[in-house]
């Protein structure tokens, strides 16, 4: 099925390439074979840009995760903190983070840190809001279970809040990879060029589409690799989610039990 999906994408890409060439009289969109051969031809140089981008994106994801996740959990689980901080978040969150790019250049200068900061800030808000939401959805029964066994506040975080919120936060992180790639492009193409796939694609697109599409392919590979790594981490860290019966069947069974319970 995966092979079929990739095959379909390649076919659609080829079709689009042919159509554009027929309509515009020039191959603005290189076909997949041309793009792939460019990847091979540009190998080492493209690889250098790939690593620069990968390093920036991974660092930004780690900063956003380790700042946004714990803070989101605290806000979601501690009512007073929620009342204090949530209004601020909801005022700042809807502002497009692109609006802060110039400010970040002023604060961080034009070096490497600003490129990581642009991506990290965008992902931070995404993860913060997700973690807060996940913490608010924790079943009270699980908290009561630990409390009644004499669990402390820290033990509630350790045994309930962290494991209960890990699957939704990892899903959110996976979804955020796309957002991170978009902001990486913005960060790399803003300010002076210091390498990275974004700036490589922007510069080559102007005079020759095939090398640019080799860069876009490399970006797709980077995004897919991160997506896959996060999914593997999720499957290892949240094994309990992937065992037993079909999750839909379990949910249906619970609904039926609740209905029976209400009737009795």
């Amino acid at each position: 099925m995966y092979a079929l999906s990739v095959g379909l994408l390649v076919a659609l890409w080829t079709l689009a390439s042919v159509l554009i060439e027929v309509v515009r009289g020039r191959a603005y969109l290189p076909n997949p074979i041309v793009a792939l051969s460019e990847v091979v031809r540009l190998g080492p140089m493209l690889f250098r840009h790939f690593w620069i981008s990968a390093w920036r994106l991974v660092l930004a994801i780690l900063i956003a995760f380790f700042a946004g996740y714990p803070l989101g959990l605290l806000i979601g689980h501690e009512r007073k903190l929620d009342q204090l901080i949530s209004p601020m978040i909801y005022l700042v969150y809807p502002i497009p983070q692109v609006a802060f790019v110039l400010l970040l250049f002023i604060v961080f200068g034009i070096g490497e840190p600003v490129k990581v900061a642009i991506v990290a800030i965008a992902l931070f808000f995404q993860l913060l809001v997700s973690a807060r939401g996940a913490a608010k959805l924790i079943e009270q029964e699980h908290v009561t279970s630990v409390l009644s066994a004499g669990g402390s506040r820290w033990q509630i975080y350790r045994h309930v809040v962290l494991p209960a919120t890990l699957p939704p936060i990892l899903t959110s992180l996976r979804v955020s990879v796309g957002l991170g790639m978009a902001f990486l492009y913005i960060a790399e193409t803003s300010g002076p060029a210091r390498g990275g796939l974004g700036v490589y694609v922007k510069e080559t697109m102007v005079y020759s589409p095939p090398p640019a599409f080799a860069g876009i392919l490399a970006m797709a590979v980077l995004g897919s690799c991160l997506y896959l790594i996060i999914e593997i981490i999720e499957r290892l860290a949240c094994r309990w989610k992937y065992v037993g019966r079909n999750a839909l069947l379990v949910a249906a069974e619970r609904a039926l039990q609740r209905w029976r319970s209400n009737r009795s």
Binding site: E141, A149, G150, S152, V243, G244, Q257, R258
Partner: protein
């Protein structure tokens, strides 16, 4: 001895204030099995949670061995409605949770209890892989792991099919007789109360007040359900709940 002296529990403040329990006084001697029965939402779970130290009381006092209850106590184990199992922990980890949290029992595990309850082969499984009956038994294993002097149960067998419910009731009875702990059961199932409790406290609609205490001296046998005394107690309970 668990003693309740004029216990009142209220939620909220001002116009949103709700009185859940109103002036309840009761003595539960060590080793007794007692059931709190009443209509749904009457406040019986609130009262149980107050005894467990999870819900603060507004007035009166709750004493366990003459010591006021200020919070959860390790000698009192609570079994929740859906067993309260943590889905991310295996059966063994769930059963050992109370031991792990307290750190008062180094080296002790719930393995023997799990084996006794017929869960020895599923120790490495997650709750989502178990039947509802098995989940309830894991909840019992967790409660028993610390050898509590009192077992507080909040509708522990709700939403189970009749056969499974009766099987686990039989197991409860056996464990109570074997371990001698105080058993405090909250239920809205009259048959469950009549089978498991020596005394059944009938509570009113919210706020919960004691309407009647039904004595059930002949309970304690596995075949009690087919006894005339059992039917007599059921009839008395029905009368008290309808009044």
């Amino acid at each position: 001895m668990i003693s309740l002296r004029h216990v009142t529990v209220e939620y909220g403040t001002g116009s949103t204030m709700v009185r859940a329990v109103d002036d309840v006084s009761l003595d539960i001697p060590p080793g007794e099995s007692l059931a709190l029965i009443g209509p749904s939402g009457c406040g019986k779970t609130t009262l149980l949670f107050s005894i467990a130290g999870l819900t603060p009381i507004t007035a009166g006092e709750i004493l366990v061995h003459d010591v006021p209850v200020k919070g959860p106590r390790r000698e009192m184990a609570l079994i929740l409605q859906n067993a309260g199992l943590l889905p991310w922990k295996t059966v063994a980890q769930n059963a050992n949770l109370s031991l792990l949290l307290s750190k008062q029992y180094p080296g002790r595990t719930a393995d023997a209890v799990l084996d006794d309850l017929g869960l020895g082969t599923v120790k490495r499984r997650y709750p989502s892989e178990l039947s509802e009956g098995m989940k309830r038994r894991v909840g019992i294993a967790r409660a028993l792991s610390t050898s509590p002097s009192a077992m507080l149960m909040d509708e522990p067998l709700a939403s189970l099919d009749t056969l499974t419910r009766e099987r686990i009731q039989d197991q409860f009875l056996e464990l109570w007789q074997q371990h001698g702990f105080t058993l405090l059961l909250v239920t809205h199932d009259m048959e469950e109360a009549a089978f498991l409790a020596q005394r059944i406290v009938v509570l009113s609609e919210r706020p919960a007040r004691i309407v009647q205490i039904v004595e059930n001296p002949h309970m304690g046998r596995q075949d009690y359900r087919s006894d005339d005394a059992f039917r007599g107690v059921l009839s008395e309970l029905r009368g008290a709940l309808m009044s």
